[in-house]
Symmetry: C2
DNA sequence: TAATATATGTTGTAAAAACAACAGAAATGA
DNA sequence: TCATTTCTGTTGTTTTTACAACATATATTA
């Protein structure tokens, strides 16, 4: 695992444009990125395939952006069962929540599945606006707030569905939300059946059965991704 | 529902000290709060018991802090079934994620269960640091990042457990995390059985049975809130 | 268009969870 | 200390879900 500062590393990597397309740097011009990296002291670390970037239990002080390669977050339980939580692709920001809140430990391993370059940005430098008071640093901070807030919404939403005990209740929660978002009782959903089942953490075929039971009961109608909800008198 | 600016309303409410204890205003002196409220144009709204602060589907541009009284967030599905998601107490910040991301609709109703006073802060004014460049405004922004990040961690963590399909897997996920946090295989948990069951969205007695099954299999031992995990060879 | 692949729905069976009812342990308080 | 309440564990029954295997519908592509 070798370490370089961003401005040196970027000579070979040529990732300025890629970074400029990240939400975190939205509104920052590619040519401003290098200045930003100086003031945030961005460091680029190289990991070989199979090497661990983070291990469950670590405490960290830097947020990470994957520049090249690929890494995954994996959860390994006490008894050794492994579960892949997430695949992280170039341009994605990760570990930021644990870097900002330094006391908290990282809950999962992060491991390189290809040779990878990772940009590390110290959370304090990311959050505290530097003395030079550069406008783009403030912009990054605003972007960070937006990203955290967006993620928060998505998580809250999913959690509302997953907190329901039965498949039917999960479906009702999901479909109600889709209907609220659409602003009407007829709407399309973005997920296919398998994706929806995965999202709601249920079996696909069992979910299909439940949907058709609900259709028989007159609660709703659907064809593929198009749903219609019906209020009806209790029989 | 009547509306006043903060500095006027606070004459009767006397909530400067309470606000100063909120995480959002941590590090801001009580006497600075009023200046901050001027520059953020904080408005205080009064709602009578039963009145709706927000309805599912609304778009909003202000974050809310409950000053006095009590409100709840409730989810009502398309078929009219009501579910209380959250009780909000004085000092708590809510709706901030939907205010920051203006395009998104609020997914649940918020209704006053007592006569309540609510401080509304326009999200743009909260996030954009004002021209006067007051230090405490920047401090509030830092606090907001910390709050969003903390909440993000809690949600991610809960979601990791709830994404598991079976009670056993949920328990394994929860206990593994507790063990990682403790840094050893022996630890106390903060929740009692009913709270843990609610957190994992399973039935308490079924969860108790599962725990004792796991104990019989030699995976772990426990007494009340004290748990010990055992690695053991497959029999 | 035919052939193939993919997505969705259906059914019966096995497994798991919820539910209900109760017993015993621990905590609380008079 | 005893009575009462709260918490936890246990058991049997019912309900729900997962699972597997297959049927049908839809989409894709040769």
């Amino acid at each position: 695992m070798e370490r370089k500062c961003y401005n040196e590393a970027s000579k070979c990597l040529n990732v300025d444009n890629m970074l400029a397309r990240c939400v975190l740097f939205s509104g920052v011009k590619p040519e401003e990125i290098r200045g930003l990296m100086t003031c945030m002291d961005g460091q680029v670390l190289h990991y070989s395939k199979g090497e661990y970037l983070l291990r469950a239990g670590d405490k960290i002080d830097s947020a990470c952006i994957l520049l090249t390669g690929g890494v995954i977050a994996e959860q390994v339980d006490y008894w050794g069962n492994r579960d892949i939580l997430q695949e992280i692709r170039p341009g994605e920001l990760f570990a930021v929540n644990y870097a900002i809140n330094e006391g908290e430990v990282v809950p999962s391993n992060v491991v390189a599945i290809e040779d990878s370059c990772v940009l590390m940005i110290d959370a304090d430098r990311l959050v505290k606006v530097c003395d030079r008071g550069c406008a783009c640093h403030n912009r990054v901070k605003d972007n960070l707030i937006l990203m955290l807030s967006t993620r928060n919404r998505a998580l809250t939403q999913k959690l509302r569905h997953l907190s329901k005990r039965s498949t039917r209740e999960k479906l009702i929660s999901y479909l109600t939300e889709a209907s609220i978002n659409a602003g009407k009782k007829e709407f399309d959903i973005r997920l296919d059946r398998q994706q929806l089942a995965d999202y709601l953490a249920v079996d696909r075929s069992a979910m299909s059965s439940e949907l058709s039971r609900m259709k028989n009961e007159g609660m709703l109608d659907y064809k593929k991704n198009h749903f219609t909800l019906y209020v009806r008198a209790e029989e």
